[in-house]
């Protein structure tokens, strides 16, 4: 398969959409609702039988209805997928590692655009997730609410007047909502300014963490900002707060970019073009280095220094260079060292296929 076709098959259609604001800094927006049904124990203690009953009930209700929401939903049962297929779904953020590895009678319902993913028997009976390109928290919430209403017309949710939507983990109770955005913040990392905002963001009940990589390391300078508080605030208020925080961070990132360009333009340019050179020519590259170089190239695109590559290269390649996708592209299992070679080849090729 040609790389072009592989990519267009591998990436979710929603990622390629033109819509969405602030796309240079905000790569995507996600709204997730945790929902449960009254008559079944939560998946964590559920018997196999009960988990299967729930799955067949829910999937029947959601796939067999004549009027479907967001296009028809396709059901994928976890036990019918190969290990690598599951890995790729995780890498695309369409299912969680928990659903892929540890669920009983787990399933996911996906729409054609892959902008809607309904996980069954994850930590909660239902995890409703909607993904949007760029920064669109309000539109995202509106859409997610409509989807949630549609699901609720099929299955009755567990809801308590005082505590709201009842969830398996106490951290999700209330709205059951996690609203998050993925942000690329190279200049705030470079100037070490991001740390200054973290306390204020935490104070608002929001949290910032790296999307890729472990511990304090944020590979590719990619961060996820999401609400931690789900009780006591309405969905609209949470999204409004998120919007306020993200807009401030965007402003600060722009400011930091201006200031580093002012003080060290030639050094920044050098760094960006070196990274461009390495990605276009290297024969072996580890995830960590690839992420760093891709972040530089993305910054170069945003600063109009690099004009022949599309802006979505960063989020695209961050997904494509993960083990699952590399193995799929190679059509065979790969050791870590072999993956580094394949990764370099894939990135090199990807840097070439751009509209000129």
């Amino acid at each position: 398969m040609s790389l072009e076709r592989f990519i267009s098959n591998a990436l979710s259609p929603w990622m390629k959409e033109e819509s969405g604001a602030e796309k240079d800094i905000v790569l995507s927006t996600r709204i997730r609702f945790a929902r449960n049904l009254n008559d079944y124990p939560f998946p964590i203690i559920s018997s196999e039988h009960s988990a299967e009953t729930l799955r067949s009930f829910v999937s029947k209700e959601l796939t067999e209805s004549s009027e479907s929401f967001a296009g028809s939903l396709e059901l994928l049962n976890m036990e019918d997928l190969s290990k690598n297929e599951k890995t790729m779904l995780v890498e695309k953020h369409l299912i969680s590692p928990h659903l892929a590895e540890r669920s009983t009678a787990g399933a996911v319902l996906l729409n054609e655009k892959e902008s809607v993913s309904l996980m069954v028997n994850e930590e909660d009976h239902l995890r409703i997730q909607c993904l949007f390109p760029g920064f669109q928290p309000e539109e995202g919430l509106r859409f997610a609410n409509e989807l949630d209403d549609w699901v609720e017309s099929k299955v009755t949710y567990a809801f308590d007047e005082k505590r709201g939507f009842l969830t398996s983990c106490p951290t999700n109770v209330g709205t059951g909502m996690r609203a998050s955005v993925m942000m690329h913040l190279p200049a705030l990392v470079m100037t070490k300014a991001l740390n200054r905002f973290l306390p204020a963001i935490n104070q608002l009940g929001f949290v910032v963490r790296g999307i890729y990589g472990e511990g304090s390391e944020a590979l590719g300078n990619l961060f996820q900002i999401s609400n931690q508080t789900t009780l006591g605030k309405s969905e609209e208020d949470i999204v409004e707060d998120l919007q306020g925080i993200v807009l401030q961070i965007i402003e600060q990132e722009h400011e930091a970019r201006r200031s580093v360009l002012k003080t060290s333009r030639i050094q920044i340019e050098d760094r960006i073009f070196r990274s461009y050179g390495i990605l276009s020519n290297s024969r072996i590259i580890e995830t960590k280095e690839a992420a760093k170089r891709l972040s530089d190239v993305k910054l170069g695109i945003d600063l109009d220094l690099i004009n022949d590559i599309k802006g979505n290269i960063l989020n695209e390649l961050m997904i494509l260079m993960q083990p699952g996708f590399l193995q799929q592209y190679a059509d065979q299992p790969l050791e870590a060292k072999e993956r580094d070679v394949r990764r370099a080849a894939l990135i090199r090729e990807r840097m070439k296929i751009e509209p000129r």
Binding site: I44, N145, L198, P199
Partner: protein, 180 residues
């Protein structure tokens, strides 16, 4: 605008904080935000497991002090729907079923308070189906309060119209039969 904490530096962070439905405007300079934030950051970096086992540890010595040698140990708290014990809930950090919320109700406020920055009550979406009755009930409760006030103020005309409205709402609470 000056920072509301130190009243000296310019406030550069502006936000609205909501606790239990109460909105407060907050204007802080970066320094003060950092200082205030640090105490709170600690709770955020807790994992739910640390948090709950912390609460249980806190729970135990209190009980030990209260119990004397001849009183029996209290009956363990267990959800009678799924069989999950409170102790196990604390260990795993997960409820076993929706009924666990009732079973452990007396223990939940401090946990939610800690996890959700002081919040205890849901203020968000009410589901259309399982919450339709609740929505009307919420309104009836509000109207009853208004009614009480009106009667206290001897605004009898107003009270009468509120009373009619409550009747109307109560009518809605009855099952509709045909529409099912």
């Amino acid at each position: 605008m000056l920072c509301q904490e130190c009243q000296q530096r310019q406030a550069s962070l502006h936000f609205t904080k909501i606790v239990n439905g109460q909105k407060t405007e907050v204007h802080l300079c970066e320094e003060c935000a950092r200082e205030k934030g640090e105490t709170i950051q600690g709770t955020n970096s807790y994992s739910i497991h640390d948090l709950l086992s912390g609460i249980l540890k806190f729970d135990k010595p209190l009980k030990d002090e209260a119990s004397t040698s001849y009183t029996k140990a209290p009956k363990p708290l267990v959800c009678d729907n799924c069989g999950l014990s409170y102790e196990r809930f604390v260990k795993t950090g997960r409820f076993g079923c929706t009924h666990c919320y009732e079973a452990f109700e007396t223990k939940l406020d401090p946990i939610f308070k800690k996890v959700h920055s002081g919040n205890l009550r849901h203020y968000g979406k009410i589901p259309k189906r399982s919450g339709a009755q609740m929505q009307v009930q919420r309104e009836i409760d509000e109207e009853r309060l208004k009614l009480k006030e009106s009667v206290a103020k001897e605004e009898f005309e107003k009270a009468a119209s509120i009373r009619d409205y409550i009747k109307e709402l109560e009518q809605q609470m009855k099952p509709k039969g045909e529409e099912g």
